[in-house]
Amino acid sequence: METTNILLAGVGGQGVLLASQIFTSVAIEADLDVKQSEVHGMSQRGGSVTSHVRFGDKVYSPTIDPGEADFLIGFERLETLRNVHCLRPGGTIIYNSMRINPSTVAAGVAEYPDEIAAKIAAFGEKTFQVDGLGLGQEAGNPRSANVVMVGAVSSFLPLPESLWEEKIRELLPPKLVDLNLKAFHLGREAV
């Protein structure tokens, strides 16, 4: 299998890292080589977060270079726009349309850009907007929006549905498994 590059982008606290973990676990189970990279530290305080997930027969670099991402998974619309140039020609953007104000916007010293959806659509040939927050709510908790996004992306990957379900069961606390499985399926059917 050629290397698949998935770039996840969001805000600290949105569960970007758990989503990455689901991707990497599924890929390992499918006997693929996997690398994942993120930067911890300052991002924990509500800053921008990106996580790079790469899998295929053999993966060297743990990071995805600009213009190389097959998928850009946006967990928030401004963070999606911030990373659109990372997409390869013909790549796919799947993003959660929710808005989280950066501190500069909240403080009134910067403006949250308008018409983000149009700007994002201008970049990607295939763009899918997902109401992550709404579907998460439908699943039982808006915090499961990250797993909604995993579900949405999963429908584009040649990996069996049962494998995703198995890994969600393994990685989430037992109390949250059913809710997140529901979130996963809502996401999978949303695109």
Binding site: V11, G12, T24, S25, I28, D33, V34, K35, Q36, S37, E38, V39, H40, G41, M42, S43, Q44, R45, G46, G47, S48, V59, Y60, S61, P62, T63, D65, P66, G67, E68, L78, E79, L81, R82, V84, H85, L87, N101, P102, S103, T104, V105, A106, A107, G108, V109, A110, E111, Y112, P113, K119, F123
Partner: protein, 584 residues
């Protein structure tokens, strides 16, 4: 038998590696990107592990453990080695008993650091070997080799990672624990371990001989590996750069150095002789390049193509070698940044709101409160290294003319963990030398910025056992400081009044703020609400820089709203509101 595999970060893999290699003791001070090594080591019950108050102490604890014969791990971020340099340079002379590896987690591109020093230089400076893994499997496997090398050559080993090797995850084949070969017992050997001039003079030549022997070892060790492919381009590389090179130049021949100091001169010359063009791809300083040029080897490309600032990447290497840059779509421009900010409810918010209002010069330190330097707070004016706030503030106050001009008065701000790290000696200096500066110790009972680790004030050890909670006001008083003032960081009037008194005093004042970290200890009060009728949208509350607040504009009407899911009910915004519009 199927092999056990896991996907591990470099840091998790190092922890696994030291467990497998029979390490008995691990000590560290937290620091990105090294912190998770000890956080994982603590889960292996065969290893005694602890947080030290600073990196110098961590290494000294490690030296003791090594002298007693135990295999030992010490970890820190790159700038931590500066703090631990004193013991390191002389430990190089005494050598080890049980093997010791000192992890230096470097941070090229400064994702979470104040500089991007290249700690391979420490290997050469302290005359100790440097080993560098390039993925998680090597992070684990090289540990055992490093410990064997440490024992065989009687030397500490610097184990250098970078942010991308520390924090990237890749698949690792796991092994089991093997107990260390040597016995743990104290053996008195004064000439080896007591570095008086008389003994140190005998140790230094051994250190020089050791480097010569290590150079021979470097020629044959499997840590240094040649991968011959096409001979048009030959690349000498190390660490994460190796992965980038493999991706960018799949046809190139590679000499991958895992032992990056001292260098294998013959192996390098032999490799250089087999390839048409020799390139050196290394992040950071021209560490290989300078040494290889001194060997008389012709280097076709090094820092001319691969600069020393920041990080490299596969795409960048490919573009530099081919001379053809990939055409990229333009990134979206003029987007508002999303800098990290104080958490809703954070006790630092009120402090910096008042410091900003008082217009004083804030001498800062390293921790979450350093975020007070960023807009819109913009209330920290200097920050250099751990523990420096109080000593720098003292230096400023000694030379600036004493006046009532608030902009010429200095307040030093330091957190609890940083105070324990190296602020205590700075404060002792202040009282000893009759400082009239003001120091604030923001005690939130945790090491916040690195993710909430325990420290001597938090009441727990790394392994979760109950421990002392160091009494900061009592300690400060014991130094001889009379003016020790406690303030409530959630009461802006209290902060302002007490700070004004402190700033008017001719004597040193230490302000202690005791308020546990709301994130670490999950502290929250009922969320506040804005009365839209009373709100005039003056945006005054927005200056406290809280992500729970935002301005809502509905037609002509605009007012501030508070996100109830984020608000921790701390009340700082309510206190700055002039229209009494924020309440429960």
């Amino acid at each position: 038998m199927s092999e056990k595999k896991a996907i591990l970060s470099g840091n998790e893999a190092i922890a696994r590696g030291v467990w497998e290699a029979g390490v008995r003791l691990a000590s560290a001070y937290p620091g990105t990107p090294s912190t998770e090594i000890l956080e994982n080591v603590k889960n292996y019950k065969d290893i005694y592990s602890e947080w030290a108050p600073n990196e110098k102490v961590a290494l000294e604890v490690g030296i003791g453990s090594s002298i007693a014969g135990a295999r030992t791990l010490v970890t820190m971020k790159h700038v931590g080695i500066n703090v631990a340099a004193d013991p390191l340079f002389t430990f190089s002379y005494t050598g080890v008993n049980g093997g010791l590896i000192l992890v230096s987690a470097d941070d090229p591109a400064m994702h979470s650091s104040q500089n991007e020093q290249d700690n391979r230089n420490y290997g050469r400076f302290a005359k100790v070997p440097v080993i560098e893994p390039s993925d998680s499997q090597e992070c684990k496997d090289f540990v055992a080799t490093a410990l064997e090398l440490s024992e065989e050559f009687d030397t500490p080993v610097i184990y250098r990672t970078t942010t991308r090797t520390s924090h990237s995850k890749s698949i690792v084949t796991l092994g089991e624990r093997t107990e260390q070969p040597g016995k743990v017992e104290l053996i008195k050997d004064m000439p080896k371990y007591t570095m008086l001039p008389v003994s140190a003079k005998k140790r230094h030549p051994l250190v020089e001989e050791r480097i010569v022997k290590l150079k021979e070892y470097a020629e044959t060790t499997p840590l240094n590996r040649v991968e011959m492919h096409d001979t048009k381009i030959g690349v000498i590389t190390n660490g994460i750069s190796y992965q980038y090179v493999r991706e960018a130049l799949p046809e190139a021949s590679i000499l991958k150095l895992g032992l990056t100091y001292p260098l294998p001169e013959n192996k390098i010359k032999e490799f250089a002789g087999k390839v048409d063009k020799l390139m050196i791809v290394e992040e950071g300083d021209p560490f290989f390049e300078d040494q290889i040029k001194v060997m008389g080897v012709k280097v076709d490309h090094g820092k001319d193509l691969f600069p020393l600032l920041g990080e490299l990447s596969a795409a960048f290497i490919k573009a530099q070698v081919s001379g053809v840059a990939t055409e990229l779509k333009d990134a979206a421009v003029d987007l508002p940044g999303r800098p990290p900010a104080f958490c809703p409810g954070c006790s630092h918010r009120g402090i910096f709101t008042i410091l900003k209002k008082l217009k004083v010069f804030v001498s800062g330190d390293i921790g979450c409160y350093t975020l007070g330097a960023l807009p819109p707070m913009s209330a920290m004016h200097a920050c250099v290294c751990m523990g420096a706030s109080i000593s720098m503030g003292h230096g400023m106050a000694k030379v600036v003319e004493n006046s009532d001009d608030m902009s010429q008065k200095v307040v030093s701000v330091i957190g609890d963990s940083t105070f324990f790290h190296s602020g205590m000696t700075s404060l002792l200096n202040c009282i000893y030398n009759k400082s009239n500066s003001v120091a604030m110790i923001l005690d939130n009972r945790t090491t916040g910025m690195t993710g909430g680790q325990e420290n001597p004030g938090s009441g727990r050890t790394l392994s979760g056992e109950e421990a002392i909670t160091a009494d900061i006001p009592a300690l400060v008083k014991a130094f001889g400081i009379k003016n020790v003032v406690k303030i409530d960081p959630y009461n802006l009037v209290d902060i302002e009044e007490k700070m004004k008194v402190a700033l008017a005093s001719d004597e040193m004042t230490v302000v202690v703020v005791e308020a546990p970290c709301v994130l670490r200890y999950r502290i929250s009060h009922p969320p506040l609400k804005v009365d839209a009728e009373k709100c005039t949208a003056c945006k005054r509350c927005l200056t406290v820089s809280c992500n729970a607040l935002s301005l809502e504009e509905k037609g002509d009407d605009s007012f501030v709203v508070i996100d109830p899911n984020m608000c921790a009910g701390c009340g700082v915004c309510a206190q700055v509101c002039k229209f009494d519009a924020i309440g429960e």
